[in-house]
């Protein structure tokens, strides 16, 4: 039996006999009746290339729903405090504090729910709103910006950087356990050190730390102990390959 051949009149290439269109340009392939191919083995099996979506909500839809519910839940106390303030004082006074706190909470919650996989947006979403919140609080106190620049923002920067390192490190590290608790302790100790440094420097006008030394010493000892327990109890630990530089 001779092999049936089919050609594309535009591209000039031979195509597989069962093709009705040229795979390059889409031109119809003319088959004569007697040449019509009957059966062939497919080069690749048919199967969905992309998993069909499961019934029900996708992860994205679920996150969106949680975000909506949370937004409404935060809006209720916000409106209640605003209306009470307006009814009692005929103007917005003390309610600015809870309102700004609720708006801050909304931003902080929204970022991971709306942009879970976009690290830069997530990071900005978690660090920029607290900075603006501090600015608002500082401003509504007496209409001036007093402590924001020397104290507020530096403390926020310290917390943001250390928290990011601890969170990313904890997510990435294998063999999670007491080592995570140790990292959180170390992070907390460093944050205390940073806060102490910033506050002491601001109050005394000279660089120095005081009370945080007790905290950092305790966290190093306890964190170190937790790490020792964690890695001592890990079975078959192969340090050489894990720590290769």
């Amino acid at each position: 039996m001779t092999e049936i051949k089919a050609f594309c009149s535009r591209c000039g290439v031979e195509v597989e006999p069962h093709k009705s269109k040229c795979p390059l340009c889409g031109t119809s392939i003319q088959h004569t009746d007697e040449e019509e191919p009957t059966s062939y083995i497919k080069k690749y099996p048919d199967e969905p290339a992309v998993k069909t979506e499961k019934e029900g909500r996708t992860a994205k839809q679920k996150r969106r729903l949680i975000w909506e519910v949370t937004s409404v839940s935060l809006l209720i106390p916000l409106l209640i405090t605003l209306f009470i303030d307006l009814i009692v004082n005929k103007t917005v006074t003390w309610s600015l504090y809870p309102i700004s706190s609720l708006i801050l909470a909304w931003f902080v919650i929204s970022a991971p729910l709306l942009f879970p996989n976009k690290l830069p947006i997530l990071y900005i979403g978690e660090t920029l709103p607290p900075a603006i919140f501090l600015l608002v609080i500082d401003k509504i106190e007496d209409g001036q910006i007093d402590w924001l620049l020397p104290v507020g923002l530096p403390i926020e920067a310290v917390v943001a950087v250390i928290a990011a390192i601890v969170i990313i490190g904890s997510i990435k590290i294998k063999n999670k356990g007491m080592n995570i608790a140790a990292f959180i302790l170390f992070g907390a100790g460093l944050i205390c050190l940073g806060i102490d440094f910033i506050v002491t420097s601001h109050i005394n006008g000279t660089f120095g730390v005081s009370w945080s030394l007790y905290v950092i010493a305790s966290t190093i000892v306890i964190g170190g102990f937790l790490l020792y327990i964690h890695y001592r109890l890990m079975k078959n630990i192969k340090l050489q390959r894990k720590l290769q530089i």
Binding site: E14, Y44, A49
Partner: protein, 446 residues
């Protein structure tokens, strides 16, 4: 080369030797330079998987193929591994499991969860009369994968009753792996004081929307190798140079087919990535990665190039650039980065975060397409008579969007285009040029 260069090579060589010994003794070894980059960037969009496949003349018996795989894997201990994370670097650890032959899928080269415990950096698929091996680029290049496929097919056919008297270069399960097969050949050939290659700008990319993740369309052009070689000879170029020129011309024609406003936005050099097997220049038995690339290009900002002009440019470029000196510069740049003390002590998760940025800066964003020629593939008789063909498929890319892998088997030349977009313009223009040049082309797809 001065004495310090020799010293560097010797030191790296000694260090490499130490790691090799460790690998055999301690069942783990470090990733090579290319492997590190591929391990950082791998994702569903950039699976870093390439495929080699053999179509046999008879349907595959999966249980015999499984037995062949189990027999042959002992000859390739450096592939029987699992990628593990250290604090500073990833490493390959011996995988105590056994790889299993799995079913074919509609689209090849799908993502492999390379960091998952127990996962091998390759997979073997069977479908009717086809055996496919898909390798993650972090474990080896086309040369290593081809030797593995040939050994697997050889063992399979042997188990089905085909007796072979002379196995030639096909690895056998009863052989001991050579120590050099474990080599990190990049480090072995690293010359510390060589300057890095000049930086290049970003290249033109096809402005088409990507298909969903995992979709990889194949367009295979089959033709007689003799016709192609004659054509290349007529033009006084090599077959690879001819194909590069055809590919560049296709991309150029696509660029100039857009309206002027869009053209201006897209107007960047058209540059191809052409992998070069470094074993040609630096003798090595390594079965791990040992290939880098040259980048023939045209700059459409200088105007439209005729095919003859493209061919001339490619011809001269390849004569100059495909040399051990220029390739050594790339090795120096890549390995120098890896050996930098600051980079070495940076925790792995931070390296991975920056890995993608580096890849975007130095990787595929600099190229408009990929064309890789594996050359003539052949086993030994009587195995060749049992095989219809062996073909090669490059890794999917969301950046270049099309890639082209070329090899010949017997009398035929196979040009496998893979694409992650719907549009077939590159393939259409490419094969139409071949037809125009008098080549008879048969097209197959998945």
């Amino acid at each position: 080369m001065n004495s310090s260069d020799f010293q560097t090579i010797k030191t790296v060589d000694e260090s490499n030797q130490n790691h090799k010994q460790k690998a055999q003794k301690e069942d783990w070894f470090r990733l090579d330079n290319a492997a590190t980059v591929f391990s950082f960037v791998t994702s569903a969009r950039i699976p870093c998987m390439f495929r080699l496949y053999a179509n046999l003349k008879t349907p595959i018996n999966v249980s015999i193929l499984q037995q062949a795989l189990e027999n042959i894997i002992t000859r390739f201990p450096y592939y029987k591994v699992n990628l593990r994370n250290g604090l500073f670097w990833s490493y390959w650890e011996t995988n105590s499991g056994m790889p299993i032959v799995i079913e074919e899928t509609k689209y090849p080269c799908k993502k492999m969860p390379i960091r998952k415990k127990g996962i091998f950096p390759f997979r073997v698929r069977a479908y009717y009369n086809r055996v496919s091996v898909e390798f993650h680029h972090s474990i080896t290049d086309g040369t290593g994968a081809l030797i593995f496929l040939k050994s697997l097919v050889g063992e399979y056919l042997n188990l089905t009753g085909i007796s072979v008297s002379d196995w030639q270069d096909i690895f056998r399960s009863d052989q001991e792996p050579h120590n050099e097969e474990y080599d990190d050949a990049f480090k072995k050939n690293y010359q510390k004081y060589l300057p890095g290659p000049p930086r290049v700008s970003k290249a033109f990319h096809l402005p088409y929307k990507l298909e969903p993740k995992g979709v990889y369309h194949l367009t295979i052009g089959i033709m007689l190798i003799k016709q192609m070689l004659n054509k290349a000879k007529e033009l006084n170029v090599t077959l690879t140079e001819y194909l590069i020129a055809v590919y560049l011309e296709a991309l150029q024609n696509i660029l100039f087919s857009f309206p002027i406003k869009k053209q201006k936005r897209l107007l960047k050099p058209i540059r191809l990535m052409v992998p070069v097997n470094l074993r040609r220049f630096f003798p090595s038995k390594t079965m791990r990665n040992f290939s880098l690339y040259v980048t023939p290009n045209i700059d459409p900002r200088l105007g439209h190039f005729s095919f003859d002009e493209i061919l001339e440019q490619v011809y001269h470029y390849m004569r100059v650039e495909v040399s051990d000196r220029y390739i050594s510069q790339q090795i120096a740049r890549n390995v120098r980065g890896e050996l930098h003390p600051l980079i070495r002590v940076t925790p792995l998760f931070i390296k991975r975060l920056f890995g993608k940025i580096i890849y975007n800066g130095q990787g595929e964003f600099l190229y408009s397409g990929v064309i890789t020629n594996l050359g003539k593939v052949s086993l030994t008789e009587p195995l060749n008579s049992e095989i219809e063909d062996i073909q090669f498929l490059s890794a999917p890319s969301p950046v270049t969007k099309t890639g082209c892998a070329v090899n010949s088997f017997g009398e035929k030349l196979f040009i496998n285009f893979g694409r992650t977009i719907k549009e077939t313009h590159v393939e259409k223009l490419f094969f139409r040029r071949l037809v125009k040049d008098g080549i008879k082309v048969r097209i197959e797809t998945n």
